[in-house]
Symmetry: C2
Subunit: 415 residues, 2 copies
């Protein structure tokens, strides 16, 4: 029995630029668009691709923490603003830290499967440049357990978490190979971003990326085992993707060949009050990927494209292992050899990923899905990679907190 009781499709993917340091439009002292803008642009970009947006039945908005960055909750209330026919239709905000976008995908798919709606507009959004990075790091640390470890934790709470993971990997697998893998990850991310005009690192002209990736950490100013290039940046952005049943596609006037089938997902929640079982593994991500493959009836070798949550280079590496593409302990060499590059065995984060495109947290999971949908429907423009006929699948793995809240979702190219 298939995991889904009926067919679900995705189409009309769109995302905004990821605004922040590195983008030529960005200036820390100049006014920037508010969260309303990103919601509106993402929705508009999406519905411009359909004939009859009035047949969109519901909205979902993934957002992590606009309540702090923008003093704004109840984001569903911006949905009716985007199109006059959305007035008095349902819209729900969902949150799971940096996996908020991933949860928005799941909520959208469930609504279709429930026969409650034939067509759901899924949005992800975050605006984070409204405060200095150190305050932003504190806001984002709400993804960790406040009353437990976070209250007296590192000022850069999550960078420190992944610095500890990097340190554990150095110890377990040897400094040099693992650190090289991280630098290669950074290099690939920027090289991919240079092919994506929406990417925060699109304008990056550094000619020694790999050497930059190897820069020594500065524990006094930041973290012990990682440098600032190992981190995704502070970003503002929005993304949108339409989910529909077969009926829903007809309603909005989208041909099935312009859509991609959603074949399975897995949403997995680890206990926020406990430490990860092994710092050298993303255990929750691994469980999610395994369940998603099983439910889709495929193996990692059936993927032509992958998009993982590289909030940090070390997270990117461990996510490749968690996705089952390489044995435990071998990912650094796998990446160093170029397997995750655009012409490698499994092109990964082809639009730049969180390090290259940017990480507007609540938008990220949706942005990942948009990119995989674009790849599978040959709409990825300059960052398009080869989708093999015998490997018609693409997967995203979206993560919140330190491997706590995870969504893996698998898409299939139309025949």
């Amino acid at each position: 029995m298939p995991f889904f009781r009926k067919k679900v499709y995705a189409c009309g993917g769109y995302y905004t630029i990821s605004l922040g340091t590195g983008r030529k439009e960005f200036h820390p002292k100049k006014p920037r668009p508010g969260i309303e803008h990103y919601i509106k642009e993402a929705i508009q970009g999406s519905i411009d691709q359909v004939q009859s947006p009035e047949h969109i039945d519901e909205g979902v908005i993934g957002n992590f923490i606009a309540s702090r960055f923008c003093h704004q909750g109840n984001l569903g209330g911006f949905f009716p603003m985007a199109h006059k026919t959305f007035q008095y239709k349902p819209c729900m905000r969902v949150e799971g830290a940096c996996d908020s976008g991933g949860l928005a995908l799941v909520a959208s798919v469930k609504t279709i499967l429930a026969d409650i709606a034939e067509c759901v507009l899924c949005v992800g959004v975050e605006v984070q440049n409204s405060v200095k990075a150190i305050y932003g790091a504190d806001y984002l640390a709400a993804a960790g357990w406040y009353a437990g470890e976070r209250k007296n934790g590192h000022a850069y709470f999550f960078p420190d978490k992944f610095s500890q993971r990097a340190g554990a990997c150095f110890e377990k697998f040897g400094f040099d190979p693992f650190r090289s893998g991280m630098a290669q990850w950074y290099t690939n991310a920027i090289e991919n971003a240079r092919k994506n005009p929406k990417a925060q690192e699109y304008h990056n002209r550094n000619t020694s990326l790999y050497e930059t990736g190897l820069s020594a950490p500065n524990p006094k100013a930041f973290c012990e085992h990682i440098n600032v290039f190992d981190c995704s940046k502070v970003s503002d952005g929005g993304a949108a993707l339409i989910f529909a049943s077969e009926e829903g596609l007809k309603n909005i006037g989208v041909d099935k060949k312009d859509a991609v089938e959603v074949v399975s997902y897995a949403q997995v929640q680890d206990n926020i009050t406990t430490a990860p079982p092994d710092l050298t593994k993303l255990t929750t991500c691994q469980i999610a990927a395994q369940r998603a493959y099983e439910r889709a009836g495929i193996t990692p070798q059936d993927l032509s494209v992958l998009d993982v949550h590289d909030c940090f280079t070390v997270a990117g590496l461990l996510a490749i292992e968690a996705a089952g593409l390489v044995e435990y302990g071998e990912v650094a060499a796998f990446v160093k050899e170029g397997n995750t590059k655009r012409d490698g065995t499994i092109p990964t984060n082809t639009s730049g990923g969180l390090i290259g495109y940017g990480h507007p947290t609540g938008a990220t999971g949706v942005r990942q899905a948009v990119d995989v949908v674009h790849q599978l429907s040959n709409k990825a423009a300059d960052y398009q990679v080869a989708i093999h006929t015998d490997r018609p699948y693409g997967m995203i793995s979206s993560m919140g907190g330190d491997d706590k809240t995870v969504v893996a979702m698998i898409f299939r190219k139309s025949d």
Copy 2:
């Protein structure tokens, strides 16, 4: 065709006390339980009522703004903490301001209808006594549009919104009758709360409730048209309710006669960037109720019990009209005549409502559903009211913001 593609049931309802001023356990200077406690107690209280909690497949947590009151996001991460078999199962947090609990109900029902899970544990939670009321009012104002009206709005943003609604009603319907209706609402709320040991006003021994309800407003310290008794209090609390398919009920070992059927709901979203069309009406609540009745194939006269979102007495009155129980402009007299009392034509907010039980914002929608489920399954103990054989339905109407985000849900007593 019924609105739901398969039967959905609710059972195992539980909520904590609403902690805050008025409760004998409450002392502003003494330590209080954290948000973890309320999630855990609510879940425990719920799963204690089923034989096999290990067959609960998913969790949903409604919460408005723990990111500010508790520095805590990613609340789904507390779900696995509550029972060892919940580890690595999905849990999603949803938010729609004070309707967060209502959205949690909807997300749970959809998951069952989607055939993704047979049994979902729905939780609502909020802890608000962590800061002074004036700061809390600022946090809660995130339900309004920050970049628009809220930025320079009243310090007590939402009390002021509903004070304006009260002022508009005084002008339209005459001060005396409407003000009397508000005082009667307050009186009923406290009288009902005195029958509910979990209510924040359970210990209230005031013998002149109606006169207290009529107290003159103090615009210098608070608002122009309402007094502090017209407002729900600052509350900490949690609530939980299990949703299941027929299969799900069997899985967890609950007899159908101990469950209540969910027959329809309507989730309606108004544009947060626009002013309400008419201050003397809850237009969005009205649309939600109409749609919920239509989808259930019933009329307001089929209800034996009702639970509405009386964040303020004026909101309670207008919600009765919005629920279609009385013509426009007649609600003050309707309430004054006792129609919403426990022995009235439509017993409303039988456990105290937001004014009497308390208003732990993210928990409220779930608490409302628990109370209606308790009433329809004869489990409401001291606050049980008569459920008429020919009127086997109960409805909740849950609201976020100033009539912006609304869920109405209709339940039916088992045969």
